[in-house]
Amino acid sequence: MAKILVVDDSNMLRDMLKFALQDGGYTDVTEAADGEEGLRKAEETQYDLVITDINMPKMNGFELVQALRGKESYAKSPLIVLTTEQSDAMKAKGREAGATGWIIKPFVPEQLLQVVETVLK
């Protein structure tokens, strides 16, 4: 079973993500409320996939991705950012930080699962 870490400062969105993932059979989902907490949890446990929001207090999503990529254990892990915009600027930042991909918010559960399946293969 794939271990997934969901990082978002909105309790509601974490819950939505978790619900959608669990509905798709991914029941091992851990939550974190900001980048720092996400990083700490990712250091404590090795996750197979990290899905993170971008705008968060303490440490934003790009910084989290960058920090995780710098670690050997996450050098090749899929790291997905959640974004409300698909601007070139966002893409440039995402690419630069080392993210695997992005999902637009609000997300469609089916698409979320499609992405998750693709990256976990």
Binding site: N11, A20, T84, R95, W102, T118
Partner: protein, 617 residues
């Protein structure tokens, strides 16, 4: 496939939105008073707005999202220094928050019509346009009108085209390219790309955790629980308390002393654990007063602005905890008191200066715990209440006889403002005096088992004090007997008890009104058996017991036959049919399964507090 219960998420969003609104208001009010907004705070502002938008979009509040998007885009440009921040922008954003709240309210009730949307947002969007037009360095000068965010609505159209995600695996996404709603970066490359970037990562994160940020990002090791579930838990503990007292009674009837003592020992342990359990469940319902206070700064600002007054708001006791169940009943009365204080209490700057006061008035709200109660006080340094006018009006309207008036103390006259039908506002303003008077405030507080008191001084200001029980659910009571009946007196209300001597009792009026003279204080005596219509065991004051109880600022002495044991009881509301029994405020189930009635001390004190006050004067 995932079947979202959108309503569940909507209510989660509404709750989250409240926190975000509070945070935004706090930032903006600070910005308004300081006249500036630093980069980091701007960042916070943007993030809160962004989170609101993202959340709203996720629960399909489209109009709220649309409007918030405008604000967010503007903030984005502001934080990127495309425009300079101007002090009046704080006011604009504060106003826009009201627009957002209105939209949210409408959308949570149903759809918003295009007309409604335009009406609600027009003023705010127009101001936004002005800001943009005034500051834009490369303006689209020929355009008389236009939204800078309009052209590329991202999420919906992307979705419509079937996208919603993307991978960054090739520089120019080919297949999923145009209609992506998700995307991938070059995966094989990622590590190589990432490592150097990670190495050159800026050492300073853009955020340093400020207090409010830390508070808001409620750690994910907390969970939100429906209040109803906790209520349920509380009820179960109540039943447990009852069951335990049943066992206690059974133990009492045991004759084998050895067995009995051993039982009692274990029962003590059990009772202690139940009490601890009750306390820990109670503590989950407790929230700090700052949750209530957070609603005030904006309201105070708006009210003061509307009335052209300057008001400084201070608060203390932010961490004092209060039962969540009480917050709802408490917020409205507090709001009303505050509005009243600003409207009728605090003077206009000109008047204040003319009277040698500071130009700005001060409004202070505080909370503290004392004797198992919460005391909340709201004080202003305004003009005070014209108590004689209030009192004369009360006489005019037949609420009070002129004899009664003659003996009322200063603050007792002021207390008349809580009487239904007494509103002394010189004119009905749009701020207070909308037919909802201080009597409603008092009623609401009474419903919570609390009492209201008032102190006022002409020219100096008014302080309103609210005393509330810590919890509504369980109380410590004293069993007292009146004739054949045993009733429960809440322990928290008891000041002292005594067996009076003949010299301590004074009779006034036609002899039916009695006063207890206790250390130079005259306290009205209430013969409970008369009040409650129960045949007494004895009718002579010196042969029974007097229990002095307090309700708000007043005391009365209750005459009972005797008192028995102390007991913890679970308060059950009375059925509607019994609501108006004189002197009874609630009921409980005793250990033996019978119903015990709980005395309504506040009601009794309220009814008798002025009795015999002529003699006291």
């Amino acid at each position: 496939m995932a079947n979202f219960d959108i309503n569940k998420y909507r209510s989660m969003f509404l709750e989250e939105a409240q926190d975000l609104f509070s945070s935004l208001e706090q930032i903006l009010l600070e910005a308004e008073s300081s006249g500036s907004l630093d980069d980091q705070t701007m960042q916070e502002l943007f993030r809160d707005m962004h989170t609101l938008k993202g959340g709203a979009a996720s629960v399909e509040y489209v109009d709220f999202t649309r409007f918030t998007h405008e604000l967010e885009t503007f903030l984005d440009r502001l934080r990127n220094h495309e425009f300079a921040y101007r002090p009046e922008m704080a006011d604009f954003f504060l106003q826009s928050l009201d627009v957002m709240k209105e939209l949210m309210l409408l959308e949570s009730d149903g759809a918003v019509t295009p007309q409604q949307y335009d009406d609600i947002t027009a003023a705010s969007l127009e101001r936004l346009q002005e800001f943009v037009a005034h500051t834009e360095t490369t303006p689209a000068q020929n355009e008389a009108f236009g939204f800078f965010t309009e052209p590329e609505p991202q999420a919906p159209s992307a979705e419509a085209e079937g996208g919603g995600f993307g991978f960054f695996d090739d520089p120019e996404p080919a297949e999923s390219g145009k209609k992506e709603a998700f995307g991938f970066f070059e995966q094989a490359e990622a590590p190589e790309v990432a490592k150097p970037t990670a190495a050159s990562a800026p050492a300073t994160p853009t955020e340093t955790g400020k207090e409010r940020v830390a508070k808001k990002s409620s750690m994910s090791n907390t969970i939100r629980v429906d209040l109803g579930k906790i209520e349920n838990l509380m009820n179960n503990i109540g039943e447990l308390v009852i069951a335990t007292s049943m066992i206690s009674q059974f133990v009492d009837s045991l004759t084998d002393m050895k067995l009995k003592n051993s039982f009692i020992e274990k029962m003590d342990l059990l009772e202690r654990h139940i009490r601890e359990l009750q306390e820990s469940v109670m503590s989950t319902r407790m929230v700090p007063m700052e949750d209530i206070y957070a609603k005030f700064p904006k309201m105070i600002r708006d009210t003061a602005k509307k009335l052209d007054k300057n008001v400084e708001f201070n608060h203390f006791g932010d961490s004092v905890e209060i039962d969540k169940a009480m917050i709802e009943g408490l917020t409205d009365p507090l709001m009303h008191i505050i509005r009243n204080a600003i409207d009728h209490g605090i003077e206009s700057p000109e008047v204040r200066v003319a009277e040698g006061k500071t130009e700005h008035g001060t409004l202070m709200i505080g909370a503290e715990h004392a004797n198992g109660q919460i005391i909340i006080s709201i004080a202003d340094d305004g003009k005070g209440i014209d108590v004689d006018r209030v009192a004369n009006k009360a006489v005019e309207r037949g609420i009070l006889s002129s004899e009664q008036l003659a003996v009322l103390g200063h603050n007792e006259k002021a207390e008349l403002i809580f009487h239904p039908g007494l509103s002394t506002a010189e004119k009905i303003t749009d701020v207070s005096g909308r037919g909802v008077g201080m009597d409603v405030v008092k009623n609401n507080i009474t419903k919570l088992g609390g009492a209201v008191g008032i102190k006022t001084e002409a020219g100096k200001g008014t302080t309103i004090t609210i005393v509330l029980p810590l919890t509504l659910a369980i109380l410590d009571g004293l069993n007292v007997t009146i004739g054949d009946m045993t009733v429960i007196l809440p322990l928290a209300s008891i000041v002292e008890s005594l067996q009076p001597t003949a010299g301590m009792i004074k009779t006034v009026g036609d002899g039916s009104e009695e006063l207890l003279m206790l250390r130079e204080e005259f306290i009205p005596v209430v013969r409970l058996h008369r009040y409650m219509n129960i045949p007494p065991k004895n009718d002579t004051l010196t042969e029974g017991m007097l229990i002095v109880v307090r309700g708000g600022n007043h005391k009365v002495a209750l005459f009972v036959d005797e008192f028995r044991n102390q007991q913890q009881v679970v308060v059950k509301p009375l059925d509607k049919n019994f609501h108006n029994i004189q002197g009874v405020g609630g009921a409980t189930v005793r250990g033996d399964g019978t119903i015990g009635l709980i005395l309504d001390v506040l009601g009794i004190v309220d009814r008798f507090k002025y009795m015999g006050s002529e003699a006291a004067a």
